[in-house]
């Protein structure tokens, strides 16, 4: 038994070792980004071939000042949050209602709708950007906030996740509500919603992270600087000479912060979400 214990200890130690090494390897680019954002431009280059690349030598906030001077970073972040919030407010409603009907109601054409949604789940958005661009143009929505919102107010994958959850809601609950005489919309809000917190949180965080990273669509439909999303804003900053490392690193660091905050709040649901993706999807 002592041998086994020893082996266990060796195993644990080696796990820590390997994990620490690999973990550092994964963090190196991010550490470099953060450290570089806090040091003068020439230090970034000077320190590059030594360990001080990851230490903010001659600490300064000047890069942040420059970044904020050159681009309205907070405006971009606010824009992204506004678009995503409105999109999600609508999409959570639409998707959950649709999923609820597909899970709990009987109606003609249901099977068709269900297979349609499953078929569209893996549909590549990229293959319709060109005609979608024309549609948005014809709707007079180009360069408006709605162009970033409307097309994403329904998402097959979210409908699917919601439906998985609603299928498990016991019918007795709903029947009780029906006997009370409340209509189905009311019983959805009064009975189902209160117990659906987890699935809403999951869909919310998955969609939020996805839309936060959206790139090709906002790149196409937005014109004015004041409407730009975070990703488009920093990409433009990155290509606008003169290209100095420091201020760009500062901008990147700032842009990452909202995601980290959100992740820390919703960590559990996020992990749950991507896990169920694999197991049920």
């Amino acid at each position: 038994m002592i041998g086994r214990r020893k082996r266990q200890i060796i195993k644990t130690i080696s796990l820590y070792l390997v994990n620490t090494l690999l973990g550092l390897l994964f963090l190196i680019p991010l550490l470099w980004m953060i450290a570089s954002s806090f040091k003068p431009e020439q230090n970034i280059f000077r320190d590059m071939s030594s360990i001080s690349a990851f230490i903010p030598t001659d600490f300064t906030l000047d890069n942040y000042r420059q970044a904020f001077e050159r681009v309205p970073l907070l405006k971009y972040i606010a824009n992204s949050i506004i678009y995503i919030s409105i999109t999600l407010m609508m999409s959570l409603t639409f998707n959950s209602l649709c999923a609820y009907a597909l899970a709990k109601f009987k109606f003609r054409g249901k099977q068709f709708v269900l297979s349609l949604i499953i078929a569209l789940m893996v549909f590549p958005f990229e293959s319709i950007v060109v005609p979608l661009f024309i549609i948005i143009t014809k709707m007079n929505l180009l360069d408006t906030r709605w162009a970033l919102i409307l097309p994403f107010t329904a998402r097959c994958f979210s409908i699917f996740l919601f439906r998985q959850f609603f299928l498990d809601v016991p019918d007795e609950l709903l029947e009780a509500a029906a006997i009370d005489g409340s209509n189905r919309l009311h019983s959805f809000f009064a009975v189902v919603l209160p117990i659906s917190g987890p699935v809403f949180a999951t869909v919310f965080i998955l969609d939020f992270v996805m839309h936060w990273s959206d790139f090709i669509w906002p790149l196409i439909v937005l014109i004015e600087d004041s409407k730009r999303t975070v990703q488009i804003g920093i990409q433009a900053f990155f290509t606008d000479p003169p290209i100095y490392y420091g201020p760009i690193m500062a901008a990147l660091t700032i842009v990452v912060i909202p995601m980290i905050v959100l992740f820390l709040i919703f960590q559990k649901y996020y992990v749950q979400g991507i896990s169920t993706t694999g197991l049920k999807g």
């Binding site: 949050i81 407010m89 004015e224 990409q235 900053f237 290509t239 003169p242 290209i243």
Partner: protein, 425 residues
């Protein structure tokens, strides 16, 4: 959960409030003509000049005209042009737009900008430098007016060149040939510094290098702008590409130059526009530098880059006459007097070139000389939007080792088929 839902709700409500709050932006005073101009963002100096000019204009014409500007970060490959195109489709163009010289033809051909011939005075038109008049015209009509002009020359670090025992040409006719330039760059390259800093930013490549094709007896595209076959895909172009590639292959030039390597003494020379003068004078007063001419072909044929931002009136201008008043205000001699020095670019008019005496002296003198004597405007063709990035990537690809013949054949195919598809009769 309750806390999180509350947080969510607050976020959502804030979002809605914001989206609707910013809905109404414009308020119009009665009787005042409102104008809007779009332009790409530029250096702090140029931004400052624009603000002052707009203020001046709105004051001068208070009660008659009022102009607002919308600026776009340049960003992305041709970000600003993409935005103009998007606005064309959306039908949301403003009254005036800034147009980069070579794009004039594309916009004129598509009817996006309108001719100014009937509004401009003969006097004002005659005052424009030849190259700028050519740049703003398409099909015999004048479409845009230049804010300023530009040229490219070689900045050199006097200390490094003195150490290496190299002297620079002081007269236009003595400018280094391609071969001489190569030898100089080679002699100047040490472990301490590169021989020269050159641009590989693909959006700028056509501007920097296309005159070299003209020097060598060819061009990017035929004079009528309809075909690149027999122009772009020639031995002459390959010669240029091979010459340029050699500088990179032998590591005489930094493949990914930093913005400050010349200023920091990490590079002996800098191949750039007149704009750098202002930076050098204000930020690097200790650097001992000079300027010499853009290289000429080995047969001593000269040809130098020209062109810059111009202002045009769009087909959506509600009152073209009013728009012209503003276009003229921004580009007349008086505007040049403040705009050119502020931007660091060159005066585009004969009158302002004379009045601005600093441009007759070093270091600007050499740029002005080139502009007047050897300026080659970029080609005027409606397929400029395809030609520009395509030529840019040919140059970068060849530098990285691609076969020049293959890349040029590919480019010709891409550009000519776009012309055939959209512009051929």
């Amino acid at each position: 959960m309750r806390k999180k839902s509350a947080l969510l709700l607050v976020l959502l409500l804030a979002g809605i409030a914001a989206i609707f709050a910013s809905g109404s932006e414009e308020s119009t005073e009665s009787g005042v003509k409102n104008l809007t101009v779009w332009r790409p963002q530029n250096t702090a100096e140029i931004e400052g000049w624009w603000s002052e000019m707009l203020e001046g204009f709105n004051e001068k014409y208070a009660g008659t005209y009022h102009v607002e500007q919308v600026t776009f970060p340049k960003g992305g490959s041709q970000g600003y042009e993409d935005k103009i195109n998007t606005a064309v489709i959306a039908g949301s163009l403003p009254d005036l737009i800034l147009v980069d010289g070579p794009a004039v033809a594309t916009y004129a051909e598509a009817g996006i900008i309108i001719p100014m011939d009937e509004m401009i005075t003969e006097e004002s038109k005659a005052d424009l430098l030849d190259s700028t008049l050519k740049q703003g015209s398409y099909d015999g009509k004048l479409y845009t007016l230049p804010l300023w002009e530009s040229s490219v020359a070689i900045y050199y670090n006097k200390d490094i060149l003195a150490e290496a025992g190299i002297t620079v040409p002081e007269r236009l006719e003595d400018a280094w040939t391609w071969d001489e330039f190569y030898e100089v760059v080679k002699a100047l390259t040490t472990s301490e510094h590169y021989g020269c800093t050159m641009h590989t930013n693909s959006g700028q490549i056509t501007y920097y290098y296309s005159p070299m094709l003209v020097q060598n007896g060819t061009d990017l595209i035929s004079a009528d702008g309809s075909t690149t076959k027999g122009y772009l895909d020639t031995e002459e172009t390959v010669e240029f590409l091979t010459w340029l590639k050699r500088l990179y292959d032998e590591k005489l030039v930094n493949i990914e130059p930093t913005p400050t390597e010349f200023f920091d003494g990490k590079s002996a020379m800098l191949f750039s526009t007149c704009y750098q003068i202002a930076t050098l004078q204000s930020t690097y007063p200790d650097l001992n530098w000079g300027v010499t001419y853009y290289p000429v072909s080995n047969d001593h044929v000269a040809g130098t880059p020209t062109g810059s931002w111009t202002i045009g009136i769009t087909n959506k201008a509600s009152d073209p006459e009013a728009a012209f008043v503003f276009a003229d205000y921004m580009t007349n001699t008086e505007a040049n007097m403040t705009g050119c020095p502020a931007s660091g670019y060159l005066p585009p008019r004969k009158s302002s070139s004379e009045a601005l005496t600093q441009y007759q002296e070093e270091p600007y003198k050499k740029f002005m000389e080139q502009l007047a004597e050897t300026g080659v405007p970029r080609p005027r063709t409606p397929v400029w939007t395809v030609l520009n990035p395509t030529f840019g990537s040919v140059v970068t690809d060849v530098i990285m080792g691609a076969d020049p013949y293959e890349k040029l054949a590919e480019a010709v195919e891409k550009i000519d088929s776009d012309y055939q598809m959209n512009y051929a009769d």
